[in-house]
Amino acid sequence: MADVIEDKIKNYRTAPFDARFPNTNQTRNCFQNYLDFHRCNKALSSKGQDSSPCEWYQRVYKSLCPMSWVEKWDGQIEDGSFPGKV
């Protein structure tokens, strides 16, 4: 399972089509992957497991989300004012 994910990350080109977000508005796609990355990190590190599978979510949100949005959210997470549930 981990190999499959590792392969996918190694052969990553760009964010693939996500059937959960089939329409023009991709705002939620970007935000969801950002959330999923941080939740994945939190969940795996709290169990003491390797969090390298979470890299997939990071690659996807980096592809989709504008850099200014990511900087703002990263700042909010540091401050503790991030509105999403991580």
Partner: protein, 230 residues
């Protein structure tokens, strides 16, 4: 790009735009045929001395001029829907580029691998080199590999803008806080020009878009150079 006294569309640079061009030819031909027929009938009616005061109805012609327009509408609708669904196909992009609208310039972000981002300002008229186009050239172009499906995510950092490139058949509104997705394939290498298409303040007419489609190796060289410069 557009040229003086142009009447039709710009030359198509993507498969979708080619389809739109052909569909427009088809629909416009129907429009011309109907208009010519109507104009002929008007002239014929107005320029005759003959009169007929005794026609009350006619089932046959009523049937013809009901069925025939319905058929014509179907002949327009079918190709139109075909293109609509073609544009909606699930495509598997090779590259994602973000186009962010600002007052009054565009910025492009290529973040699939490294964080490459740069601004694209219009070249002022007094700084144009000979042969360059007034109000259309930019200091940095959005370079893309040709013949690859590319996803563009359009957004804005302040007010509404709109990212439009007519020869690629593309226009997508740039809304702050929203990420709008569109996709294209550049069928041939070249420079494709566009302009901001949503009023956004004093310099709305002065924030153009230039897409430069190049072979893949040239794109890779360009992105390495841009990353070094940044």
């Amino acid at each position: 790009m557009a040229h003086p006294t142009q009447l039709g569309f710009q030359d198509a640079a993507s498969p979708v735009m080619e389809e739109l061009l052909h569909f427009h030819d088809h629909a416009l031909m129907i429009v011309f045929l109907i208009s010519t027929l109507v104009l002929y009938i008007i002239i014929a009616m107005v320029s005759t001395k003959l009169t007929n005061k005794y026609i009350l109805d006619s089932q046959e012609i009523e049937i013809v001029w009901t069925i025939l327009p319905a058929v014509i509408l179907v002949l327009i609708a079918l190709p139109s829907l075909r293109i609509l669904y073609l544009m909606d196909e699930i495509n598997d992009p090779h590259l994602t580029i973000k186009a962010m609208g600002h007052q009054w310039y565009w910025s492009y972000e290529y973040t699939d691998y490294e964080d490459l981002g740069f601004d694209s300002y219009m070249v002022p008229t007094q700084d144009l080199a000979p042969g360059q186009f007034r109000l259309l050239e930019t200091d940095h172009r959005m370079v893309v590999p040709m013949e690859s499906p590319i996803r563009i995510l359009v957004s804005a950092e302040d007010v509404l803008h709109s990212w439009a490139v007519p020869s690629l058949g593309m226009k997508m509104d740039a809304v702050p806080g929203r990420l709008n997705q569109t996709a294209f394939i550049a069928s041939r290498p070249g420079l494709f020009y566009g302009q901001c298409s949503e009023i956004c303040g004093a310099n709305h007419s002065f924030m153009p878009i230039v897409v430069e489609a190049v072979p893949l190796e040239h794109f890779e060289n360009w992105s390495s150079l841009m990353l070094e410069d940044a």
